[in-house]
């Protein structure tokens, strides 16, 4: 039994709150405790560093300071929160002028940058383990042909090394395989979905996300799996522009866990592209505690 500090981030408390609920259900099943960061604030995503680097570091330092007081490792499931928090922590630890700057700005809070930050894939691999995951599967999801979609910020983090291969990450592949899904090889694991440009330039997001969904279809997948709330939303939104790509739902990794562990997820109604076919194809495995 391990307890992690938990930074849900803005998306998981609003447009993707069902991801937060799904993640909590699955981690509770594996007895991974979550202690939500007390009074956490926004990481600033891409908006803060575009304005001023110091602003980005101070925003992240505030959350890091709160997390460091707990002495626990920090789980940040959103790719932007994960990348920004992790990069800032390394910078605060390694660069004295940044450390002094953020400590002065946030005083009386104090921050060292010693925090260990984990994404949800690392959390499953390191704190639960593939054997335990494979042994806990109660439902057959072998009819799921999934393409794992990692996006940009899980592996390409400015100023921080990646824990997975940057060109061909495999952490999520391993988890999906352990859960019993068929992992379909494809080339678009780390392509960009269009990120935060949905509000300002929707055509571009549609084009980039549409390419990814078209490739998923071409690869023969019947579901795309991701861990990033913004990627999930952008891919899910393609339903409004690309009728030709209908029928390939975009699931959060923790929702695939729910299908394999519990047979269903209570929050599937939040998907813009219906995952009813996928849910309907889940099979009860004989003998196990279903």
């Amino acid at each position: 039994m391990i307890t992690l500090s938990y930074f849900p981030g803005c998306s998981l408390t609003s447009s993707s709150s069902f991801y937060d609920r799904s993640l909590r259900r699955v981690l509770a099943f594996y007895e991974v405790g979550l202690r939500e960061l007390e009074d956490w604030s926004c990481c600033g995503a891409a908006a803060a560093p575009a304005m001023r680097q110091e602003l980005s570091d101070v925003l992240n330092a505030r959350n890091i300071a709160i997390a460091e007081k707990s002495g626990l490792h920090l789980l940040a499931p959103c790719s932007a929160c994960y990348a920004r928090t992790r990069a800032s922590a390394l910078k605060i630890a390694g660069d004295r002028s940044t450390r002094d700057m953020v400590n002065e700005a946030l005083s009386p809070m104090s921050v060292k940058g010693s925090l260990e930050v984990r994404n949800i894939i690392e959390t499953f691999l390191q704190y639960v383990g593939v054997e335990k995951i494979a042994a806990s599967v109660a439902y057959g999801i072998g009819s799921m042909r999934v393409v794992p979609y990692y996006g940009c910020l899980l592996t390409r983090i400015m100023g921080a090394p990646s824990s997975d291969d940057v060109e061909d990450p495999s952490g999520m592949d391993v988890l999906l395989d352990a859960l019993g899904a068929v992992v379909v090889p494809w080339q678009f694991k780390t392509e960009c979905c269009g990120a935060g440009s949905t509000a300002t330039d929707r055509d571009r997001t549609t084009r980039l996300s549409g390419r990814i969904m078209a490739m998923a279809k071409k690869a023969g997948a019947n579901a795309v799996v991701t861990t990033c709330p913004l990627c999930q939303l952008n891919l899910d939104l393609t339903t409004h522009a690309r009728g030709d790509l209908a029928g390939i739902p975009v699931l959060f990794l923790t929702e695939v866990f729910e299908l394999a562990l519990f047979g269903s997820t209570p929050d599937s109604k939040h998907h813009l592209i219906s995952m009813a076919d996928i849910e309907g194809s889940v099979e009860i495995l004989g003998g196990d505690s279903a």
């Binding site: 604030s41 926004c42 995503a45 908006a47 304005m51 700005a105 960009c192 935060g196 409004h240 813009l272």
Partner: protein, 142 residues
């Protein structure tokens, strides 16, 4: 992109400051960092583009663009609430652009499926954090 990345780097090397800072290119970059990963000359292109945004804003050369405007509204939200209030920020953006009906069908579907955060949460430390953000936005000189 108005000026493609390798030409942006070329103009920087030849000192054509205004040309680079006034272009829309830094704002078209999505910061996916694929170019940084694959650059044969080891240039962190995404970092260069991010820095160009900062310098062009601070120097007043920045081309009028929607991305900087939207970023500004996001930071505004964080300054007031401590977090990014989705609906409020998008409504402010649409109002400022006079785009009252843009993407209405998409917005309705998102509302129906619970994919837009309706309420905004105020963190307890928002006053202290807001004061820090206000101060840091005040002097962008570098």
């Amino acid at each position: 992109m108005e000026i493609v990345p390798h030409r942006v780097i070329g103009y920087i090397l030849s000192g054509e400051r205004e040309k680079v800072l006034a272009s829309t290119s830094p704002w078209k970059c999505l910061q996916c960092a694929t170019c940084s990963l694959r650059c044969p000359n080891g240039i962190d292109v995404a970092r260069v583009f991010e820095t160009l945004r900062q310098i062009s804003l601070a120097s007043g050369f920045a081309a009028k663009n929607d991305v900087a405007h939207f970023d500004d509204l996001i930071i505004d939200s964080v300054q007031r609430h401590g977090r990014f209030a989705e609906l409020e920020t998008i409504m402010r953006y649409r109002l400022s652009k006079g785009q009252f009906m843009k993407d209405a069908a998409m917005g309705l579907d998102m509302l129906r499926k619970g994919r837009i955060g309706l309420s905004s949460h105020n963190i307890r430390g928002r006053k202290e954090l807001g004061a820090i953000i206000r101060r840091m936005r005040g002097h962008r000189d570098r």
